[in-house]
Subunit: 360 residues, 2 copies
């Protein structure tokens, strides 16, 4: 079966392998796995993760939490619940599922408290602490204690612990060991400060796929929430954390022009692949052509990918279908309304990208 | 009314002004206007364009043609109809609307002919000629004649003329005048070659918003298909082709964190704004904060925009809503499932982005 291009095709067996590998790691080290569903945005895939042993799921949006409540009744939103619609949707959802959110401000606490108070529900809270990525999160152990105490005083909110994000940690296993030793020092300082005040830190959650399998190097971490590992992409491959064979999701595209010398054009542009470059190799182009490793996608416009084929011994022909591993699969999946699920021996099935394009 | 953030809000009055300005230009120079709907992907906006005098609409995908047939019965696909699903959908559509496609290969002619033959319909064809942008299009006058003759011989296909794309033409009015003089030379050569063979060139179509109002400098051009002008964006503003006040579509976002020094984080990340940089000013950041011109969105991750506010006299506060003009509105619109249509004196209305996320 050949669905119209461009389209996203997901190989169920590679997904299964990726999920099992991470679950095995988590089990071996006594870590709860709570995958971030931002990558797949699929209830079906979320259920697979739960069936294999995940403790719950992670989301970035309140609407995603609502969608993913079809796969798990234990959801963490790794995003500040700021904005009244966000807080209200979470409170509504907390009527029927176990919900935890991460935040880094008293403002967020106040706004969430108003929403939960109105509905008489309880939501768990993690204090977001910045390990050095510099995006969100309180900046010192003292600030984390102050915010944790503020949460403790807020009716309807339950202090559950802290959220960390290791998005800045990358590199070889040796390099990661050094970086994680520093993280361990940061976390130990937090624990000392929290324990001195008797603050609840049942959950110490860490994130990111590249750092996931170094999580045990910070023994206090007891929960991890990698996302990209389910499909992998060229960021992960070129970063050295997975192989091409571990990439479960590929864009299938058609060569629609070969009029310009040493170039073919395929129908997967920035509205399919997105303009995200490959972090570890920004000059490697806009994705990897599986059957033409010497080809380079050097320019994307909305519906066109211009591919330099001057280095290819054999060149793709007009009308030919090619397979592309995207640089960043999370944003690529988010472009699609649906994807094709490929299981061995079965017709491919079209599945919705359930939690993309939500209003809240 | 304050819809949940992030969301896209379109100002109907600015749209009206933008549409009128382009229609007036086209009318003044006797050009048929056939706007590219890739920017708005909205039947409603397509209808506005038709009501103001557009001759028809332009699309990039066969599915978009089907959707936009709700706004116009005269549609041009500025994209090669390669791939059997694409050709078949077009042939099906040609049963009920006037359809023209652009192509640059005999392969595309053959595949389209098979589809139209099966259904006994006729589709108009423009030969795509490359003016120098280097993406698609035949590379010489001789090649254009050969392909035009190939189209003439194909049953069910009607040679209508040629498609040009001036995506590489930019700069000041003086600079554009020079560049368009060169284009005029290219087109004159094409016309001489086509006329020597008596080939039909009823339609000579040119594209791109930056070059649109220089189209009359190539007198043979009789149809233009700008897209971005309907909303405009920072590419257009920083290129010097429109002002901030001409930007009709803005992302409304909420400040969700202010934990890191000299930074706020808003909830419009790459899954809202896309990672597209501003072509004329790649270092200007990921969009323009209307009320904080000194602020700079220096990093996007999927749901976070990190904004450097160190240069701001007054800084946005946590919980505050801010308005962002995106770098590239076409891809930004394509991220959204729907948008808010704002008319003076009326409640905002939620409208679908009708032709996004299509399978063909």
């Amino acid at each position: 079966m050949h669905p119209a291009t461009p389209c996203l095709i997901v190989d169920s067996q590679v997904v299964q392998n990726n999920l099992e590998r991470m679950q095995t790691y988590a089990d071996k080290h006594g870590l709860r796995l709570r995958p971030h569903t931002k990558t797949h945005k699929s209830i079906h895939v979320g259920r697979l993760q739960m069936e294999l042993g995940s403790k719950g799921l992670t989301v970035a949006k309140a609407g995603e939490a609502a969608v993913m409540s079809n796969a798990s009744s234990d959801i963490m939103m790794a995003y500040p619940p700021v904005g009244p619609e966000r807080a209200e949707m979470l409170a509504e959802l907390a009527k029927r599922i176990q919900l935890t959110v991460a935040l880094d401000s008293e403002f967020a606490v106040d706004q969430l408290q108003q929403a939960v108070d109105r509905l008489g529900v309880t939501i768990g809270v993690l204090v977001d602490f910045d390990l050095g990525y510099g995006r969100t999160g309180v900046q010192s152990a003292e600030a984390s204690v102050a915010l944790a105490e503020y949460v403790e005083r807020a009716s309807g909110l339950r202090l559950d612990g802290m959220m960390l994000y290791a998005g800045h940690i990358s590199g070889s296993p040796e390099s990661q060991r050094e970086q994680m030793a520093k993280v361990k020092g940061q976390v130990d300082e937090l624990l000392t400060a929290w324990d001195a005040k008797g603050l609840c830190r049942d959950i110490i959650s860490s994130g990111s796929t590249p750092s996931a399998m170094a999580s045990h190097l910070v023994p206090a971490v007891n929960e991890i929430r990698p996302g990209t590992y389910v499909y992998n992409d060229m960021n992960i491959v070129r970063g050295g954390y997975a192989t091409l064979d571990d990439c479960a999701a590929r864009i299938e595209a058609t060569v629609i022009s070969a009029a310009v010398k040493d170039q073919v054009v395929v129908d997967a542009g920035s509205k399919t692949l997105t303009s995200d470059l490959c972090g570890p190799a920004p000059d490697s182009g806009h994705g990897y052509l599986v059957d033409y490793p010497e080809a380079r996608i050097f320019r994307l416009t909305e519906e066109h990918a211009q591919v330099d084929v001057s280095q290819c011994e054999r060149r793709p022909q007009i009308g030919e279908r090619v397979s592309i591993i995207p640089n960043h699969i999370c944003v690529c999946v988010n472009m699609q309304t649906s994807f094709w699920w490929s299981e061995p021996g079965e017709e491919m099935r079209l599945m919705p990208v359930d939690s993309r394009g939500l209003l809240v």
